[in-house]
């Protein structure tokens, strides 16, 4: 009897401890995105990169709405594990979360502010390293460097990071995240209201208009907070969906090489003429200290993942596989 019990225990422990397997082929991966490209050629970001890779072929494309991608059997990097990816496009973050909780989607984008709450509800949340820059960019028309400096010094990055960004990522004083440059701590992020007021001096600045993408709820909340911060320094910042001297932008860090990343970032923001040449730190410091760009935070990509999704390491979808045995 005792021997039988031992054997039973050993067998049970095998079942409990040894549960996983090699990647499995097959299945349909359902993904939802905010982006809503008209055609495969106009898709950018992660979806665009996936299409360019050739790992999947487009079998159906409903403009701005839905795409069906099928695995390329001849893909050089090896045939992807899933047979098909169904991409629902143009879905708001709120709708994505609803679909995710109803089990209609395997992979959804998650608002940074929503991520902690989603994790608390037991949902599986995945965050990348901070790889997106949230920043203010002057588009011209604000030639007085003291106004730009005053705005930079007035911003309470800690409050924005804590309250509006759900503590995801990190406050940023520089353009490149610390994991990439190793020197991000050299760029201060603390608010300095007295210095902001001193920089502005007694002269009153003309009101500035802050432009942001009104479909992005995170940007809207940050823009409203920036207007409050600026007012305390004596600056008037009006927020509007378009036509501002200052733009609130999110930009993916485009390269893992610091020098190339800086150049590409500056180009994408129309600041290439203001980025001096030199070593990455010197170039970045000169651009940041000119205050033509005011870094605010580095944000991670955040996704909600179904328990069936395995080997997720970011949007490397050819390596992702679906575990049908997951709960």
């Amino acid at each position: 009897m005792r021997r039988f019990a031992c054997l039973l225990l050993a067998a049970v422990s095998l079942a409990a401890a040894y549960a996983a397997v090699r990647p499995r082929y097959g299945g349909v991966l359902r993904v939802e995105l905010r982006a809503a490209p008209q055609t495969p050629e106009t898709a950018d970001g992660n979806l665009g990169a996936l299409l360019v890779s050739g790992a999947f072929r487009v079998s159906q494309w409903d403009a701005n709405r839905r795409a069906v991608l099928v695995a390329n059997e001849q893909y050089q990097g090896g045939r992807p594990f899933v047979d098909t990816i169904e991409v629902e496009m143009g879905r708001s973050l709120r709708d994505q979360m609803v679909d995710f909780e109803l089990g209609k989607a395997h992979v959804v984008e998650v608002d940074p502010a929503e991520a902690p709450r989603a994790a608390q509800r037991g949902l599986r949340i995945w965050s990348s390293q901070p790889n997106e820059l949230l920043a203010l960019v002057f588009t011209g028309g604000v030639d007085n460097p003291r106004v730009r400096e005053a705005l930079a010094l007035s911003i309470d990055r800690t409050a924005i990071h804590t309250v509006l960004l759900g503590r995801q990522g990190a406050p940023a004083g520089g353009l490149l995240p610390h994991w990439l440059s190793g020197y991000a701590f050299l760029f201060p992020t603390a608010r300095d209201l007295p210095r902001a007021q001193k920089a502005l001096g007694p002269t009153r600045s003309a009101p500035l208009t802050l432009e942001y993408d009104s479909s992005d709820t995170t940007l809207r909340a940050v823009a409203e907070r920036l207007a409050l911060n600026a007012r305390e320094a004596g600056l008037t910042l009006r927020i509007a969906p378009q036509g501002g001297e200052v733009r609130l932008v999110r930009r993916r860090i485009p390269d893992v090489n610091p020098a190339r990343a800086l150049t590409a970032l500056a180009e994408s923001l129309g600041l290439e003429g203001r980025l001096p040449s030199g070593d990455p730190y010197a170039s970045e410091r000169a651009l940041v200290e000119s205050h033509w760009i005011i870094p605010l935070a580095h944000l991670p990509e955040i996704y909600g993942l179904s328990p069936h999704v395995r080997d997720w390491a970011g949007w490397d979808l050819p390596r992702v596989w679906l575990d049908a045995s997951a709960p």
Binding site: L14, V21, F81, S181, F185
Partner: protein, 390 residues
């Protein structure tokens, strides 16, 4: 990495690694000190602080601090309170460590920095109560699909793009023609005297390893040899564009049978016959009798299992992987089959990353396990054998 080196003295290796890391701090300390002195005025007084923002441990930080202080003094820095403040930060980025010095004089700040290569992580593993003995055979950047010991200090290594013969520090390669590989590539070596066959998904390569590596690869659906029992090999058909066998297996005694698709197979003796175990795609390992008829459930297993003969216990053990995710560490544990149930007979042997291949060696008494190190991403082939006692 030197081949054929046993992991028996891990604590010594760890101490050695720590000592080497400390020695490696002299060069970056010298470089950073030179950069700092270059922006200092002659005989300018200063005070130095060091802060750690990296993953360096306390001992390494202390070693870095000592190296920096020594170099700054040797190169002529005058240490005194009240002068410039030199704030040194031991930082890190994607590619390695970064030591940053801020030279602060009131509102003025100058910054110099130097890159410090990240030392490769020690590959040794803690050794505890082993019944599975492990011997490192070889490690490399490219995936290892299988490896076979050809003789003393001589090894044959199969990779997706090449076959290599490694003898001491000498290596010779045969670059394979382009063969479409699935995303989770697998392969198998079979030795036949001075010749060998390399089984790859959808192809078989035939070559000699002595006197020189040369041969040809042809598209083929030839079954792969899985395991030989009493001189009879079990052969199974591999699916060319996948990572599993399609289920068609052949034992000369029972002809061709079709089982459910599987990832791997093992065999152990049962009375005068054999018991087969197949790790299925559903995560369950099924038992089959000597005629390859279903004989029950072995348990829920990892996708890789194999078996080795030994002089201990039931004289044959099943080695089973514990892979739960390709981003996690892994382990191999030995089991015996008793009353057609799995009984653990060893502690799990930990690996620093997923086990990507596990095959029985031609001698039947050892197995080759390949593991991808999670930090270095290098692949290492180990020879596993069962040691009696603990």
């Amino acid at each position: 990495m030197r081949p054929f080196r046993r992991f028996l003295f891990f604590p010594i290796a760890l101490l050695l690694a720590t000592s080497l890391r400390a020695q490696n701090m002299d060069a970056p300390a010298r470089d950073l000190a030179a950069r700092i002195l270059a922006v200092m005025a002659p005989r300018e007084a200063s005070r130095v602080t060091v802060e750690n923002r990296s993953s360096l441990g306390a001992a390494e930080v202390a070693a870095a601090q000592r190296a920096l202080q020594a170099e700054l003094g040797r190169q002529g820095l005058q240490s005194a309170p009240g002068g410039a403040e030199i704030r040194i930060t031991l930082s890190a980025n994607r590619t390695g460590y970064l030591w940053v010095a801020e030279i602060l004089r009131g509102e003025e700040r100058q910054v110099v920095m130097t890159d410090v290569p990240r030392p490769s992580a020690p590959t040794g593993m803690p050794v505890a109560n082993l019944t599975i003995e492990r011997e490192l055979l070889w490690e490399q950047e490219e995936p290892i699909l299988d490896a076979a010991v050809l003789g003393p200090r001589r090894l044959l290594v199969l990779s997706p793009t090449r076959v290599a013969v490694i003898q001491d520090t000498n290596r010779s390669f045969w670059m394979l023609p382009p063969i479409p590989q699935p995303r989770d590539p697998r392969g198998r070596l079979a030795l036949e005297g001075d010749r060998y066959r390399a089984y790859l998904p959808g192809a078989v390569c035939t070559s000699t390893w002595r006197p020189a590596l040369a041969g040809e690869c042809l598209p083929s659906t030839e079954p792969w040899p899985i395991r030989t029992v009493s001189g009879t090999p079990l052969q199974a058909s591999f699916v060319a564009s996948r990572n599993y066998f399609d289920g068609r297996v052949a034992l000369s005694a029972s002809g061709v049978k079709t089982l459910p698709p599987f990832y791997s197979a093992a065999v152990v003796p049962e009375a005068a016959t054999s018991l087969w175990i197949f790790a299925g795609l559903d995560g369950r390992a099924q038992l089959y009798d000597a005629s390859l008829e279903p004989a029950g459930l072995f348990g829920t297993a990892g996708s890789d299992l194999t078996s080795v003969d030994s002089t201990c216990g039931a004289r044959a053990q099943v080695l089973v992987t514990k892979r739960s995710n390709e981003t996690e560490s892994d382990a191999v544990q030995a089991y015996e089959v008793s009353g057609r149930m799995a009984v653990a007979v060893s502690e799990p042997l930990e690996f620093p990353g997923p086990v990507t291949a596990l095959w029985t060696a031609p001698d039947g008494r050892t197995a080759v396990a390949v593991s991808r190190h999670l930090k270095t991403n290098r692949y290492a082939a180990f020879r596993l054998s069962i040691a009696c006692g603990r």
